[in-house]
Symmetry: C2
Subunit: 395 residues, 2 copies
Amino acid sequence: MSAVEDGRLARIALTWLAEPGTRAVHRLVEELGPVAALDLLLDGGAPDRSLRAAVAARSVGGNARAVAEQALARAERLGARLITPDDDEWPVRVAELQRLRLSGADRKVDLETAPPLCFWARGAWPLAQAFDRSVAVVGARAATPYGTHVATELGYGLADRGWAVVSGGAFGIDAAAHRGALTAGGLTVAVLACGLDRPYPVGNTALFDRIAETGLLVSEWMPAAEPLRPRFLIRNRVIAAATRGTVLVEAAARSGATQTLNRALGVGRPGMVVPGPVTSAMSVGAHETLREQPGARLVTGVAHVLEEVGRVGDDLAPPARAPERLRDRLDDEATQVLEALPRRRPLALESIASRAGVALRTAMRKLSMLEELGLVVRRDDGYALAPPAETNRRR
Amino acid sequence: MSAVEDGRLARIALTWLAEPGTRAVHRLVEELGPVAALDLLLDGGAPDRSLRAAVAARSVGGNARAVAEQALARAERLGARLITPDDDEWPVRVAELQRLRLSGADRKVDLETAPPLCFWARGAWPLAQAFDRSVAVVGARAATPYGTHVATELGYGLADRGWAVVSGGAFGIDAAAHRGALTAGGLTVAVLACGLDRPYPVGNTALFDRIAETGLLVSEWMPAAEPLRPRFLIRNRVIAAATRGTVLVEAAARSGATQTLNRALGVGRPGMVVPGPVTSAMSVGAHETLREQPGARLVTGVAHVLEEVGRVGDDLAPPARAPERLRDRLDDEATQVLEALPRRRPLALESIASRAGVALRTAMRKLSMLEELGLVVRRDDGYALAPPAETNRRR
């Protein structure tokens, strides 16, 4: 096994021994590297007692490295991949979680704010690229028709303008935001708090499948991990840190969604809040946040959101809309795959991979992305270039 | 005619020659006193040309002092009184309008921000006392059911906690706020932009009559003055300056109500805004104000409003609720009138005035106020002390 593979396995094992986001574990990895950090923990050398106890309790249940290998195999069967800081698609901005500053009530519950050690992802888009131009839309599960409407419009509007819509895949606001983005034919990312083979809630299974087809399902937890309650709060820090800004649509008082917004502000990202009727219990958290968080900004629609996130980056030129411009933005492998396609007839996946000179798996991922971009269409007998008319309609 | 009466007449005449709020006129009155200021203007000595032209044009229509005398006579018939800085009930805080600072678009249209020269009032409450513990509730005429509901609740809640509710008597939010206060059996003040004998809009005539019975109708314009369009904006500065704070409930973009809120902030009063659905055109002005006015504060109900206005004054002990405490707060004349009432039977107005040793008119005003306070009840055959049970129910 190569050193890189050793490191990847160690990262997986570490997320099994201690919950993702544990500061002490992340510090050890920073200091020693993942392999030595894992060995230290397994030797009972964790720097604090509660972590030592947690590692010891877990270790009884199995061999950490063997568990990690099983997780990798399971992910392979699922069509999911592991992403670590060694990969090009690692979203570097999550490192800023190390500087997360929380205020007030959040500080007490928030001991787990270290950056992720690894991600699992299902879907063709490179993770970093998906997050790079993305906005989180979060809110209540028990959303009202008003909130659902607003979240859908935001999801649609952002995706329509070339922004990825990131959320947590929950019922209510999350699902509405994802659906809005899907309806626009855009990119959406669901960041889950459990294994990708058991996305929660089960009622959103069809939605998760659609997201994985054209966007991304992402998790810090290995396949088979259960959606335990504390994991949602740990997960929220990724939604806040990996995106350009977070929009809170509806929330009850002091809910998980308001916490995500506070985290976004804590890492210096715009925290945006959609107001609602003062007569609605589902807007209490939104109004509370607007009153108590000096950094929170009231937004009423996509234009306001873009105003906020547009201030952040320097890559915020208007999104390319013409197919020519889109092609310019493709990476080398995607360009090779696109150029491997014949003008008029479809071609089978294997042939495309071979003509493009890329691995079968790479060809599959790039083709999914090209299809999402409207440059390629899937046919019964393989893939074909999208006709120019369809290209225009899609973009 | 006494010097005081001369001055009062001059003030009335000045509001007829130039619109209330005209800075140049107010400056002359400050420097020379109202009588000399009027003489100067009538002699064509206005400091600027546009004011000279306005005075000349008006003077063609009649003798300014005669017009003022007619206005006084008309007010007398109407049961309205003139209030000037010579009167105890003059609301001194309107003087702060001299320091009004406006920003942005408001600055261009706002040349008329000087304090009032006089007020006309109909209703028993002393004006200063009514304004002293008051909150303005303003908003759109074309209010939605949501806005109407919120304004009614605010009017009710504020009045129920002993605060006077001040608004402009318009359809929509204004009327809802007044009605809420009336429903709570509380004090409400309508500040009009026309003569008190022709309160505008005519459709609210029944409401105006109810307000005058238990609260106050107030105007800077003499009886018979028409509700000209620019007068509403001039009037708004009084609503903003005379109250402890202004709440904006619903407003279209850049409406008169948002202007009132900006004026409140401009004289250092809390400017509060109730959010609403982002899908409602009638909340656009509210959300715009919250986004653009750093001083504006989001409020969702009476508790938030009291938090804001409670910071301002030092007289904000909990309102007296027990009848004993109420009696302690009465002025001498009101106490005399109350003590003139026999224990069990009603007494006619004339007898009460005579027993109390006060003018008939004073007795009438004080009895209205005592009735409003729940200490006195009106019967077919005169006035009587309220039975203790009723006193408790009312307060």
